[in-house]
């Protein structure tokens, strides 16, 4: 039994609590660094300088952040329907296949329409791979958490087979496809800015970032300003009320997982079309899973997701620098921080809620509602 405290004001709910949660994760990470025998403050300094200290660092940071925005949105949209899509990793992996097939076999398309089609193909393949767990959840009650976890392995095995046995260039030792034509590449910022006389160091930071921001805006509009979003939220908040309101939870479940899979495809767009320009093994690199942390930390709100994605971008880029500078602190430190963020922003999300509510209740003199 917990007493019915007055709900937190909106600003505390969307800003203060996540900040406290993240701060707690960082404080504990600091102790871990201390235990390794390094100075946490120095580590933070290296991390931040490495990520934001110069344009090259910023370029890499935003490149990573782009991936996290897409995967964070993919997880978040499912949260709104009360679904937990753990399969973003696998959906993004399959999306890479879609992008690659379009880039390699639709070369006859005129100019940059090829990359547009490749982006669409990525979304389509991501959605198609998410459709199966979505359908099983909607019609067969197979829990989407279980099925999407298993589908990640299916994706991994399938892509391994295709890259090694089918798509590999004969005589090549690397399990990868041939390179794409330049019309299948999402332009990188340093290329775009060069003709304007602006020198940006060579980084993988590409136009997918703008696509990610547009996707965030689109998700916000969808969830809070459209009928479909209303139905998604209703199913997520109260499926019985949804049925009463003439909404089909099964239909919404399928549509939401399709949208989620399509958003997961953004990771493939950023990495495969924006940077690698060929399909490679394991290009998703766990970014799909980080999307869960990003969505939790961003409280499933697009603005929060963008901020959380940038923070994780800083961690990834700065973490590389840190591992380089301080050999004692390996790249695994970032995984530790990430784990702590999931722990505090996800599993222990409500730990600080009550103390904060008590504190605020003492301070406010608002009359009862």
């Amino acid at each position: 039994m917990s007493s019915p405290l007055k709900p937190l004001p909106a600003w505390a709910d969307v800003a203060l609590i996540p900040l406290i949660n993240v701060a707690a994760a960082f404080v504990i990470s600091g102790f871990v660094v201390l235990a390794i025998g390094e100075n946490p403050l120095e580590a933070v300094q290296i991390l931040i300088t490495g990520a934001l200290g110069d344009l090259e660092g910023i370029g890499f940071t935003l490149y990573y952040a782009t991936s996290f925005i897409f995967t964070g949105l993919a997880v978040a949209i499912c949260f709104h329907a009360g679904l937990f899509n753990i399969g973003v990793e696998g959906q993004a992996y399959l999306a890479g296949l879609g992008a690659a097939l379009a880039a390699l076999y639709l070369g006859f398309l005129p100019g940059y329409s090829l990359v547009v089609v490749a982006i669409a193909a990525a979304a389509l393949f991501g959605a198609a791979f998410a459709a199966i767990p979505g359908y099983l959840q909607a019609k067969r009650d197979s829990h989407i958490v279980i099925t999407t976890i298993m589908f990640n392995y299916i994706a991994s095995a399938l892509m391994g087979y295709l890259l090694v046995d089918v798509l590999r260039v004969p005589g090549q030792m690397n399990a990868e496809t041939p390179g794409f034509s330049k019309y299948a590449a999402v332009p990188q910022f340093h290329e775009l800015l060069a003709p304007l006389g602006i020198q940006w160091p060579v980084t993988p930071f590409n136009l997918s970032f703008l696509l990610a921001l547009a996707a965030a805006l689109a998700v916000w509009l969808l969830i809070w300003r459209t009928r479909l979003g209303y139905e998604i939220r209703t199913v997520g908040a109260n499926a019985t009320a949804a049925i009463y309101g003439g909404i089909s939870p099964a239909g919404i479940t399928i549509i939401t997982t399709l949208l989620s899979g399509a958003l997961a495809g953004g990771l493939a767009v950023n990495v495969i079309l924006g940077q690698e320009h060929r399909l490679i093994l394991e290009f998703t690199g766990g970014f799909g899973f980080v999307g869960i942390a990003v969505a939790l930390m961003g409280r499933a709100h697009p603005v929060g997701i963008i901020l959380a994605a940038i923070l994780f971008g800083v961690l990834y880029q700065g973490g590389d620098e840190l591992a380089f500078d301080k050999p004692k602190i390996s790249r695994d430190m970032i995984v530790v921080i990430q784990g702590l963020v999931v722990l505090f922003a996800g599993a222990l999300e409500h730990m600080f809620r009550r103390p904060v509510a008590v504190l605020l209740a003492r301070r406010t003199t608002q009359p009862p509602i």
Binding site: M1, Y230, A237, N238, Y244, I247, A357, P367, I369
Partner: protein, 525 residues
């Protein structure tokens, strides 16, 4: 409990007397943030009496009992048990002071046996056998002593609700409870089961147990209690000897103003048949037939009441008519035309003009985390008034909710406030506003005033009658006989999924309906 030997008979007395009172609450104060749930509450419950506590929803009864049972700690004030000041910080401590609680929603493990349930938390060691035989003996003793016989090996989930409640009482007694707190115990019982409960409580009283009985039904207070305390807006406003008070006096004390328990309504002028049901068969989620061959007609300009003890098929009937639950047999005719299967769903039925106020606003009728304006468009969210293009028009949504809240006096008038933050009565008005403002020709209304305070009941009843007078056809499902009588023009009674009788409202009485609810039709040849 070491307590003085009780004197014989009812010791309804206001002065301290020889024995200290079983419970004394002095200056209890409790706030939840800015909500002042209990304000300087004083309560004195003598030993060996049945003490009623009445009050509207949100008056602070449950908070007070939760403090007594150790769920919350009071901000200020003192609790004395048998004259001794005590501090109760958990239900365990409450039990050790001899306080037992019977919750409105049973705290039972349904797949386990009665014995297992009673033993739970009092196993008496790592090996079950000793504890089990001790509890089995104790159950047999209590059964004889108080007439509380229950088969200790029966599975709780298979017992009737009345027997389940008995198990809850036994749980408290086995733990040595001298003081029993019952929170709205009759809400889930049939009238016969309630009578049995009252008999049981009287036996317990005669054995010098103290009973606190929380309810909002004045009838029960009058027939059962020795003393009654009234709470209003967090304060204990009055305490009476039951013999010296009357229902109107109690109702006045509860709401602080005169209330009309019976609303004025004119004659009904039924028109043509709006809805007809033929041989309807409906199953519940487990596949059990809950509505079994029900047929009736509903005319424009009348309120047809469906009476019955809860769980006799009313809920399934209502859900089937609203298109939420599939039909296993029979047909529904709207305006004389059979409703095709493709239109037997909530969305299509709303388009035809069938409104539905569901029985359970929390679980079905509203989305608690949503803003009130979003809850106020549930089911109509596809309509173009809320935005013509792809995107919603927030201004239109808020304005529409504002209009509905104005028309139904929903307080506070805050379309952006979360639905969960409105009181029960205002939530219910929001549901009614949503359904009635769309002007449906047929209204299916379930438990319109469940958990709603008296002021709002009056308002809601008036709006329902106004709908009838506007020529709408209304089907009213309610387990409150008072409500059925106050509103209905014609009444059908469901028992075991069948219609056991049909009466004109002016042509029947509570006794007659009570028999029908039990499946007996006196007038049937």
């Amino acid at each position: 409990m070491a307590a003085p030997i009780a004197a014989e008979g009812d010791r309804v007395t206001t002065d301290a007397g020889r024995a200290p009172p079983a419970i004394e609450l002095i200056g209890i104060d409790k706030s939840f943030g800015p909500v002042h749930a209990n304000k300087n509450v004083n309560l004195r419950v003598e030993r060996g009496v049945i003490h009623g506590i009445v009050g509207e929803n949100g008056a602070g009864k449950s908070t007070l009992m939760s403090i007594l049972y150790g769920f919350y700690e009071a901000d200020a004030g003192e609790i004395r048990i048998n004259g001794e000041p005590v501090r109760i910080r958990s239900s365990k401590e409450a039990i050790s002071h001899g306080i037992g609680m019977v919750h409105q929603h049973f705290m039972l493990v349904y797949p386990l046996s009665v014995l297992d349930n009673v033993m739970l938390g009092a196993e008496g060691g790592p090996l079950l056998a000793n504890g089990a035989s001790a509890i089995r003996r104790r159950l047999a003793e209590l059964g004889k002593e108080y007439g509380l016989e229950v088969d200790p090996d029966a599975i709780v989930g298979e017992l009737s609700v009345g027997l389940q409640q008995r198990v809850e009482i036994l749980k408290a007694l086995v733990r040595g409870a001298e003081i029993l707190v019952l929170d709205e115990p009759t809400a889930v019982l049939t009238p016969a089961e309630a009578d049995q409960l009252f008999e049981m409580l009287r036996v317990l009283k005669s054995e010098d147990k103290t009973i606190i009985f929380i309810t909002h039904k004045l009838r029960e207070i009058m027939s059962l209690t020795d003393r009654v305390s009234v709470m209003r807006r967090g304060e204990m406003v009055a305490t009476f000897d039951t013999a010296e008070t009357s229902p109107p006096e109690l109702a006045d004390a509860m709401v602080g103003r005169k209330v009309i328990l019976k609303i004025d309504k004119g004659m009904a002028h039924p028109g043509r048949v709006a809805l007809e049901v033929r041989n309807l068969v409906v199953r519940d989620d487990r596949g059990v037939v809950r509505v079994n061959g029900v047929s009736f007609v509903l005319k424009e300009g009348e309120i047809l009441g469906v009476a019955g003890v809860a769980g006799n098929g009313q809920s399934e009937l209502l859900e089937a008519l609203a298109g939420i639950r599939p039909l296993s047999g029979g047909e529904i005719l709207v305006d004389g035309e059979p409703l095709p299967p493709a239109k037997h769903n909530p969305h299509a039925e709303r388009l035809i003009g069938i409104g539905h106020v569901p029985e359970d606003r929390h679980r079905v009728g509203l989305v608690m985390p949503f803003e009130a304006c979003e809850s106020a468009m549930l089911g109509f969210h596809y309509e173009t008034v809320y935005g013509k293009g792809v995107l919603y028009d927030r201004k239109a949504i808020i304005a529409d909710a504002g209009r509905k809240m104005e028309a139904f006096d929903v307080r506070p008038r805050a379309p952006l406030l979360k639905t969960a933050n409105f009181s029960g009565g205002n939530q219910q008005k929001l549901v009614l506003a949503r359904e009635i403002e769309r002007n449906p020709k047929i209204m299916l209304v379930g438990q319109p005033t469940r958990g709603v305070d008296i002021g709002a009941i009056e308002f809601i009843h008036k709006r329902i009658v106004a709908q009838r007078d506007a020529g709408k056809a209304l089907l009213l499902v309610s387990v409150e006989l008072d409500e059925i009588f106050a509103l209905s023009d014609r009444i059908i009674v469901l028992c075991g999924g069948r219609i056991t009788g049909e009466r004109l409202a002016e042509d029947t009485n509570a006794q007659d309906l009570g028999l029908l609810m039990a499946g007996v039709d006196e007038r049937a040849a």
